[in-house]
């Protein structure tokens, strides 16, 4: 279980007033759940994800994983980035092996686990390709394979499909759900797409901006294995209702003078 306890964060810049990014955010993510952090730009959702990963130290408050304070990246978490962040001088396979190598996996085991991770995202045929030879969707599959290869308990995804075109994005959402159906993991997923958040999540946490804080948390009670009938789900009254509720909350928020 991930617990975010009273996290406040400010960006400090020399000689200027510090910029508040997150204000007293508390939430928890139960094991096996898919939780989305949703909100407008500037609501600090990406910063919160980086704090959970341990890349950023919050100004106040703390992150606990199973009761232990997080202060640096750990083997139990892996991140998927919006801009993929693949190493351009490594092939798809060696990009995956990069993460495994940092976790101390060596030799044949490292190679086998990299290939196996690429198989899980349907990219084994492209193992020898360099990032510049892959499409955006393929690059993010490599990013996903890299994160999965280390078998993390928590997958932290920072707008992973934000840089992809809409069609690819929908395929990636469906494939992600398929993947998670086969191997249950805990996901914290940052997005600013309402539909994406509702379709993927067990729980959506809606943020307000300037500074970021929680507006509302909404449990999404849609049937499991949503990838099997995604079109029907997205047209269902329950889905439409969740979407409208969230849109309403976000619009109310934006209408208020800043």
């Amino acid at each position: 279980m991930i617990e975010v306890r009273n996290v406040t964060h400010r960006f400090e810049s020399a000689g200027r007033a510090s910029l508040p990014v997150l204000n007293d955010v508390s939430l928890s993510v139960a094991d096996g759940k898919f939780v989305s952090l949703l909100g407008p730009s500037g609501c600090g959702k990406t910063t919160l994800l980086r704090i959970i990963d341990g890349l950023v130290q919050p100004t106040h408050g703390q992150i606990l994983i199973d009761g232990t304070v997080v202060n640096k990246p750990g083997l139990d978490r892996a991140m998927v980035f919006q801009e993929f962040n693949l190493l351009p001088w490594r092939t798809a396979q060696h990009n995956v092996e990069f993460a495994l190598g940092l976790h101390g996996v060596r030799g044949a085991e490292r190679r086998d686990r990299a290939i196996e991770a690429l198989q899980r995202v349907g990219l084994e045929e492209f193992a020898g390709f360099y990032p510049h030879q892959l499409s955006g969707g393929m690059k993010q599959r490599v990013g996903l394979a890299r994160a999965l290869s280390t078998n993390p308990r928590y997958l932290l995804m920072d707008e992973p499909f934000g840089a992809l075109d809409p069609l690819v994005r929908e395929f990636m959402q469906i494939d992600l759900l398929k993947l998670l159906d086969a191997e249950r993991r805990t996901i914290v997923f940052v997005t600013h797409s309402v539909d994406e958040a509702v379709f993927l999540s067990d729980r959506v946490i809606i943020f307000r901006a300037h500074p970021g804080s929680i507006l509302e948390a909404l449990d999404i009670d849609l049937p499991p294995r949503r990838f099997e009938n995604d079109e029907a789900i997205k047209a269902s009254p329950a889905f439409v209702n969740y979407r409208n509720t969230i849109w309403h909350l976000l619009k109310e928020q934006l209408r208020r003078p800043a």
Partner: protein, 275 residues
């Protein structure tokens, strides 16, 4: 015969391939330019009344070049110059790359060393030669020192640039996967900056050649620079050109080899196959 009416006429004769002279346009114009230049030069010496004491001819240079290599008389000069150049270049790389990485990674080092490095990178380094001879004598050591000072700063500046242009997000990604500072240095910084280091070495090669020749002009008993200087003082302009051709050939070859290496180690920087 009705079928004939349905048969479409043959498409007009369109050349399916690009014509030879368009495909190889650059190669052709370059060959013409060089040929015209060499021919004009040869003609000026042969029929234009230019004295061989002032200017040798391309044919004489080629014949002499073959001769000095065939009878082996050039090897001591080549060996001496190659020795100085190789040691100087190797020292520049061994010192320049770590200093460049340090300056690229540490703001403290960069801010402290920047003015000094910039001054040295743009200073006429050959002016240090008299001092180096006073300190190190007229043997190979002072020449190696001159080559080193003349080329190390280019490598430092290029390495620093290479380290600084590395996408910060890649370093952060490595951190996220629990990389140590050492992992980041060896697995992100070094491969990320490598193409810039090779480019730095490529730029340094030209300076290496200049420094070694100047050093051999000034104080030497052997070497290509010494050979050129001696030949000049004896009005043997053919031998002067032999030395120049050897140096220029070395420079062109090293440049091409390092360019090929750059493309090989950084295919993503030299590509148009992006989808």
């Amino acid at each position: 015969m009705e079928a004939d009416a349905l048969t479409l006429p043959d498409p007009p004769d369109v050349p399916s391939i690009v014509p030879f002279w368009i495909k190889h346009r650059t190669a052709i114009t370059r060959t013409i330019a060089v040929t015209v230049f060499l021919f004009g030069w040869e003609a000026a010496v042969r029929w234009g009344g230019v004295s061989p004491l002032f200017l040798s001819s391309p044919s004489a240079v080629v014949l002499r070049l073959i001769k000095v290599f065939a009878n082996g008389s050039i090897w001591p000069s080549v060996a001496a110059t190659a020795n100085v150049a190789a040691w100087g270049a190797a020292l520049s790389i061994v010192v320049g790359v770590p200093v460049g990485i340090l300056m690229g990674r540490s703001m403290l080092f960069r801010d402290t060393l920047e003015p000094f490095i910039m001054a040295m990178a743009s200073a006429p380094i050959v002016a240090f030669l008299p001092l180096l001879i006073i300190w190190l004598g007229i043997g190979a050591t002072s020449k190696i020192a001159l080559v080193f000072i003349g080329s190390v700063f280019v490598i430092i500046v290029n390495t620093e640039t290479g380290v600084r242009q590395i996408d910060y997000r890649l370093i952060e990604t490595a951190r996220s996967f629990t990389a140590s500072e050492f992992d980041i240095l060896t697995q992100i910084v070094a491969p990320g900056a490598l193409p810039f280091m090779v480019a730095g070495v490529r730029l340094a090669i030209a300076r290496v050649l200049i420094m070694v020749v100047v050093a051999e002009f000034y104080a030497a008993t052997v070497g290509i620079g010494y050979l050129i200087f001696q030949a000049g003082s004896q009005y043997d302009t053919t031998l002067v050109f032999v030395g120049v051709v050897i140096l220029a050939g070395t420079g062109v070859f090293a440049n091409a080899a390092l360019r090929a290496l750059e493309r090989r180690i950084a295919p993503w920087m030299h590509t148009d196959t992006t989808r």
